[in-house]
């Protein structure tokens, strides 16, 4: 069977930037900031047709880079990528006919056109007949709650309204494969829900529609995706269904603590049996939330005594079912905002 998206050992290196006029103040500066960046490092994934596939990863992990390569905007440095069975490097035309991409926070379009005109314009680049395109736009505007703003100039739209317009732009060409790069960025709860439901329904109710989604919202990924790849520093760390991912760390134990604000956390990492942990500070209540991924329950007592020995109070302690976020912490070793 052929995959909707397949990459083989895909690697992308960005060359260091050449600075002009003021160059090489110090040798260090040149090394530190301007050296080559490996954004993708041997990525191999397979996305099946009809799948809603998620990518999770911290900032700078390489998610957008991957999407750009798949969307024929960027060439791989080495390795291969296939979309709808065609090589992105050699045969972009048939790919372009079948894909579209929407990124969170993009500012595409022309300020002097209305929302509807902008979307219509983009649909023309895919050869969608005007009548078809206008009917689809009107329908989608109703769905996404942008109907009131259909004739507002784009420069008058709010960030969220603009994002809804971008979503409509993505769907109006009826792609087979849709790349969504943080599509709910900047949307209110309700708008985000509408978009999630629409995307889910779009994939489920039709044959041969595939979505590749990146997001920073764990719940979004958990709820929507058939499978999720976790990526960090350009490498795929795991790739499976959300359930399977959570099962992977079931042998481990997750504890959540709420304590008086603490700062010194170095001693936790050196503790026996602590696989990983994350810390977030709640400024409002002046408390810290700690999540520990432990090999077993052994270190709990030690952790508690370490906290109380610093004169901090423990407000709550809870053993919990692992969430996607715990998977992430366990693999990437950092909390996730």
């Amino acid at each position: 069977m052929s995959y909707a998206v397949e990459t083989r050992d895909l690697t992308r290196v960005f060359a260091g930037k050449k600075h002009r006029f003021r160059r090489k103040r110090t040798a260090d500066e040149a090394d530190e900031h301007l050296g080559p960046v490996t954004a993708l490092d041997g990525v191999s994934i397979q996305i099946r047709e009809g799948e809603l596939f998620g990518m999770l990863g911290p900032n700078g992990a390489g998610k957008t880079t991957l999407i750009k390569i798949l969307a024929t905007l960027l060439l791989p440095t080495s390795g291969q990528a296939f979309v709808a069975g065609h090589d992105v490097a050699k045969d972009p035309f048939p790919i372009r006919q079948r894909i579209n991409m929407v990124s969170g926070g993009e500012t595409s379009g022309y300020g002097l056109l209305t929302a509807r005109e902008n979307v219509w314009m983009f649909s023309q680049f895919y050869g969608v007949p005007s009548r078809v395109s206008k009917a689809r736009i009107d329908e989608l505007m109703h769905v996404f709650g942008l109907w009131d703003k259909r004739d507002a100039k784009v420069r008058m739209l709010s960030t969220g309204q603009r994002q809804k317009m971008n979503m409509i732009r993505g769907f109006v060409t009826d792609p087979d494969i849709l790349f969504l790069d943080e599509p709910t960025l900047g949307l209110d709860v309700n708008a985000a829900r509408i978009i999630r439901e629409y995307v889910l329904n779009w994939v489920r109710s039709q044959k041969g529609k595939t979505v590749l989604l990146t997001t920073h919202y764990m719940a979004e990924a958990d709820q929507m995706c058939d499978r999720i790849a976790i990526i960090d520093k350009g490498k795929i760390l795991a790739c499976d269904t959300p359930e399977a991912l959570k099962r992977m760390i079931r042998t481990e134990t997750t504890f959540r603590l709420e304590v008086d604000a603490i700062r010194d956390t170095a001693s936790f990492s050196s503790m026996q049996g602590v696989k990983n942990f994350s810390l977030t500070n709640d400024i409002g209540t002046n408390r810290s939330h700690l999540t520990f991924i432990l090999e077993d329950e052994g270190p709990v007592a030690e952790i508690l005594s370490l906290i109380t020995s610093q004169g901090k109070k423990v407000h709550s302690l809870q053993k919990s079912e692992p969430t996607l976020e715990d998977v992430f912490i366990s693999m990437v070793g950092r909390g996730f905002e």
Partner: protein
């Protein structure tokens, strides 16, 4: 005062970076010179053609007149462009205008600062163009030592007027769509025609002459030419005025334009805020 100076310095630095850091220094220098020199060459060729087919004995006085006028016009084109383009580029291109605008500085001073690097670069281009004319094209320049203070004063006043006009345009462009190119070409064209830059005002119909005499730049070009090339005698429209009167006229008009620029700028700014146009984008 301190804030103004700091704003000016930062803006000037920013303007310089934006103008220059797209390439290697030597390319930037060539670029800064090639454009104005090629502009001057258009006029040289117009003159060459005229001599070839119209008047074999030539008309060196008319040529010097036009060459000097055009050299100083480099200031007009680049200072005007430098000032009003600040708003348009910050707004449409870098989309930083809202952040600069809300910071506790004078946006007016910020614009002047941004234009400063244009003034510096164009001074260089003016000098090169003039020197080229003197050494290779027999343009007659006889600036006497005693006239130098007056020349410097006139240049300073002329630049002030230019900056003020540029800021008036900036105030207007708060409200208009992106027309960088039309404006960059058009407004200087206005002065090109009416201020006796390339040809004596006497060629214009009487209403055109009247417009010309109402624009301070006319006096600036006239006095600059009188000081640099006293013996040309091409234009007699302003012979009634002596040098000091013209300088005084320049002084008065630069003060007036300065006030006007503040007024227009504030008005444009006010209406832009009222209409929500400060940070609009209007590409098409």
């Amino acid at each position: 005062m301190n804030t103004y100076w700091r704003t000016f310095k930062v803006a000037a630095w920013l303007g310089w970076e934006m103008d220059s850091n797209w390439t290697e220094p030597w390319l930037f220098v060539i670029y800064s010179v090639v454009k104005p020199v090629a502009g001057a060459f258009i006029l040289v060729l117009m003159y060459v053609v005229f001599v070839a087919i119209g008047r074999p004995q030539g008309d060196p006085a008319a040529f010097s007149y036009l060459y000097i006028g055009n050299s100083f016009f480099i200031f007009v084109a680049s200072v005007l462009f430098g000032t009003f383009q600040v708003i348009q580029s910050d707004r449409e291109w870098y989309q930083t205008i809202r952040y600069v605008y809300i910071s506790p500085i004078s946006y007016y001073v910020y614009i002047v600062g941004r234009a400063a690097s244009k003034v510096a670069v164009s001074s260089f281009a003016v000098a090169i163009t003039l020197l080229f004319g003197v050494f290779f094209l027999n343009v007659s320049i006889q600036l006497s030592w005693t006239a130098i203070p007056m020349f410097l004063a006139a240049t300073a006043l002329g630049l002030t007027v230019l900056l003020a006009i540029g800021i008036c345009l900036g105030g207007i462009s708060f409200l208009t769509a992106k027309h960088t190119h039309g404006l960059a070409e058009g407004i200087p064209g206005l002065f090109y025609v009416f201020c006796g830059v390339l040809f004596p005002l006497s060629v214009l119909p009487s209403w055109g002459r009247a417009i010309g005499q109402g624009i301070p730049l006319t006096y600036w070009f006239d006095i600059t030419r009188r000081l640099l090339a006293p013996s040309l005698g091409v234009d007699t429209t302003l012979t009634g005025y002596d040098d000091l009167t013209i300088l005084l006229l320049l002084l008065v008009s630069s003060i007036a334009f300065f006030a006007l620029s503040i007024l227009i700028f504030k008005t444009g700014e006010y209406f832009a805020r009222k209409a929500g146009k400060i940070d609009m984008t209007t590409s098409y």
